[in-house]
């Protein structure tokens, strides 16, 4: 007999999983196409979350858009207005970074670890930027408390969680359509499969890489904002801390495979929540890490890895 508490943990885990999924799907595409671990991925989430905070609290607030508590949710529609801007800025920044940093290293023939190292530098700089502009203290989006929803079987869930799951679903489906229906999307999957073959087939891998940045950073931006909504707080270190679940999901799903990353994220999200039944909840990141280690040992190519 499953208790209500356990069900609530599972539901929470699925919501957390969908946030992880948004980050991990972009991260795995980047990993697959650029062949290095993009360590600044978490800090892209952070900076996007803060950008939304800025857009809500300065320009939108100045023109009188200060609403909070849209429908059943804690936040107001200004957040929805700000989100696309944050996504665009993050995508633009990622493209600039590729042109200024990663492409130069790529053209020099730098190895995967050197590229990852550079992204570590970017991660540190991004976090520095966040702390310089917004300080190190906990911040919040303007919000008002709302009653929890009651789902069937007495499961209680914050309404924001439904919003998060809904956005994650829409974005995931859009990504799926992009990857399977558009030429650039298919080229992205092809490049993730085999960069060398993609090049000799005539695929312009540099263009593919730029699109991968746009999508990867855009997805990270959405994930960052949703994480800030779900946790009802923003912290400069929030994205860095998220790296462990992100990479766990990516490796679980097989590097370069966004579908695998999606399911990997759900597994990581749910197991970390459910494990809090027995383990001190502050060990959640360690649980994601433990899953990662087990997968690395048993199936280094991931659970959903493709045979080459």
């Amino acid at each position: 007999m499953t208790s209500v508490v356990e069900l609530e943990l599972v539901v929470n885990g699925l919501v957390m999983g969908s946030i992880i999924a948004l980050g991990a799907m972009g991260l795995t595409l980047l990993y697959g196409n650029l062949k290095f671990a993009h360590i600044a991925h978490g800090d892209f989430m952070t900076i996007a979350a803060y950008l939304v905070l800025f857009i809500i609290s300065v320009p939108l607030s100045n023109i009188g858009l200060k609403a909070i508590g849209l429908g059943p949710f804690t936040f107001g529609y200004p957040l929805l207005v700000a989100l696309p801007f944050a996504v665009l800025i993050a995508a633009f920044a990622a493209v600039l970074l590729d042109l200024g940093v990663y492409r130069r290293l790529r053209n020099r023939g730098s190895g995967t670890v050197v590229m990852a190292m550079a992204s570590l530098g970017v991660a540190i700089a991004l976090r520095g930027l966040v702390q310089i502009i917004w300080g190190g203290d906990i911040q919040q989006y303007p919000r008002m408390s709302k009653l929890f929803f009651k789902l069937p079987m007495d499961v209680r869930i914050p309404p924001d969680a439904l919003f998060i799951a809904g956005i994650a679903l829409v974005v995931t489906i859009s990504l799926h359509l992009l990857l399977t229906k558009t030429k650039i999307g298919k080229a992205m999957r092809a490049t993730a499969d085999n960069v060398d073959l993609a090049r000799v087939t005539g695929i312009n891998t540099e263009i593919v890489i730029l699109w991968t940045w746009v999508i990867g950073a855009g997805l990270a931006a959405v994930a960052g904002v949703l994480l800030a909504v779900f946790q009802a707080q923003l912290l400069p270190i929030m994205g860095w801390k998220f790296l462990i679940p992100l990479f766990s999901a990516v490796i679980l799903g097989g590097i370069g495979n966004p579908y695998g990353a999606f399911w990997g994220a759900m597994i990581v999200g749910v197991s970390a929540e459910v494990a809090t039944q027995w383990i001190n909840p502050s060990y959640k990141p360690a649980i994601a890490f433990a899953i990662l280690i087990v997968v690395l040992l048993l199936r280094p190519r991931g659970i959903f890895g493709v045979r080459d």
Binding site: V101, R108, A116, I124, A125, G128, S282, P285, L292
Partner: protein
């Protein structure tokens, strides 16, 4: 005259920290500079080294106040070695710190060193966070978030507390000098040459019959032991450790910046980089206006790493060239 003394005192305190960082940078050089192991969880080894030494030497806090803390080490009084004339406990604690890091590194490395190189980065990141969580949550082990304080000074009875930094600087430089010689010798030995060969071209090293995984594991353990020594030196300098001490910035990123700036693959560069970056770090405090904002340093460290990779991949000194350049 008094001002001058004050400046010298400040300088000595600064040099102690720079020297301790140089120990970490040497350890990282064994990992990254010589073997190509991408460790972004230095903070984990930093913490293990610092806590091990602190636990072994620090008297338990008042149990009436901290009832969940039961581990309390205080090796010196238990062994009765306080009066040995020389503070032997310090050497033992230092060795224990190195050993503890070595054991942890062996366990991690044994499990993951065979995997793709950048997996190690993610693994070390996870280990560092897990270690931090353990020290934070397990109050019985190391007093949780309140941390350990009153960590004893090495040879603290010998000199007046005001001048203690001078003595400790000598201790740090002796340890650093010993490690520098040891690492340099090891790297120029046949063992070190195999490490470099692995870093340059793992396939070829494998093909020529070297047990690549074993060599990598050895390098990982050795580097981690050195980091453990650094952690212990740090704990006895600051005399307080808590989980907050080991945030990624101060305990991982700064060390990376030091190695990159000085020149990875070069032990002199590692030490030079530590003093330069720590100099910039300390110097920015005296900058006017918003430039003295500590967060500027975070940005600076990041930009420094990226800048070095782009424009001076070898760092200031570059690698002592016996093999081809690692970045290009």
């Amino acid at each position: 005259m008094i001002d001058l003394l004050g400046i010298v005192d400040y300088g000595v305190g600064w040099a102690v920290v720079a020297g301790i960082y140089a120990v970490f940078t040497l350890g990282l050089n064994v990992h990254w500079g010589f073997t190509g192991l991408f460790n972004i969880g230095i903070a984990g080894f930093f913490a293990i080294g610092a806590y091990t030494s602190a636990l072994l030497t620090t008297p338990s806090p008042d149990t009436a106040l901290f009832e969940d803390f039961v581990f309390g080490g205080d090796l010196p009084s238990r062994l009765g070695v306080l009066n040995l004339g020389i503070d032997l406990w310090f050497v033992i604690a230092l060795l224990a710190a190195a050993t503890a890091c070595g054991i942890i590194a062996f366990a991690i490395g044994f499990l993951t060193i065979r995997l793709k190189e950048d997996y190690l980065a993610i693994t070390t990141l996870g280990i560092a966070e897990t270690i931090r969580l353990v020290f934070l949550n397990e109050g019985w082990l190391a007093n949780g978030s309140r941390g350990l304080y009153n960590i004893p000074k090495y040879l603290g009875g010998l000199v007046h507390p005001e001048h203690y930094n001078y003595l400790y600087l000598i201790v740090v430089l002796l340890v650093l000098g010993f490690l520098y010689i040891a690492v340099s010798r090891a790297i120029n030995s046949p063992w070190g040459r195999v490490l470099k060969a692995i870093r340059e071209d793992e396939m070829t090293a494998q093909a020529s019959g070297k047990n690549v995984a074993l060599f990598k594991l050895q390098a990982f353990v050795v580097g981690a032991c050195i980091m453990g020594v650094g952690g212990a030196l740090y704990a006895h300098n600051i005399r307080f450790v808590s989980p907050i001490t080991f945030d990624p910035l101060m305990a991982t990123f700064v060390i990376w910046a030091m190695l990159m700036v000085g020149g990875s693959g070069n032990n002199k560069g590692a030490i030079l980089g530590s003093f330069i970056v720590w100099g910039i770090w300390a110097g920015t405090q005296f900058l006017p206006g918003f430039l003295s904002d500590p967060n500027i340093r975070l940005l600076m460290i990041g930009v420094l790493i990226v800048g070095v990779m782009l424009f001076k991949p070898g760092g200031i000194l570059g690698e002592e060239r016996r093999f081809s350049n690692r970045v290009t």
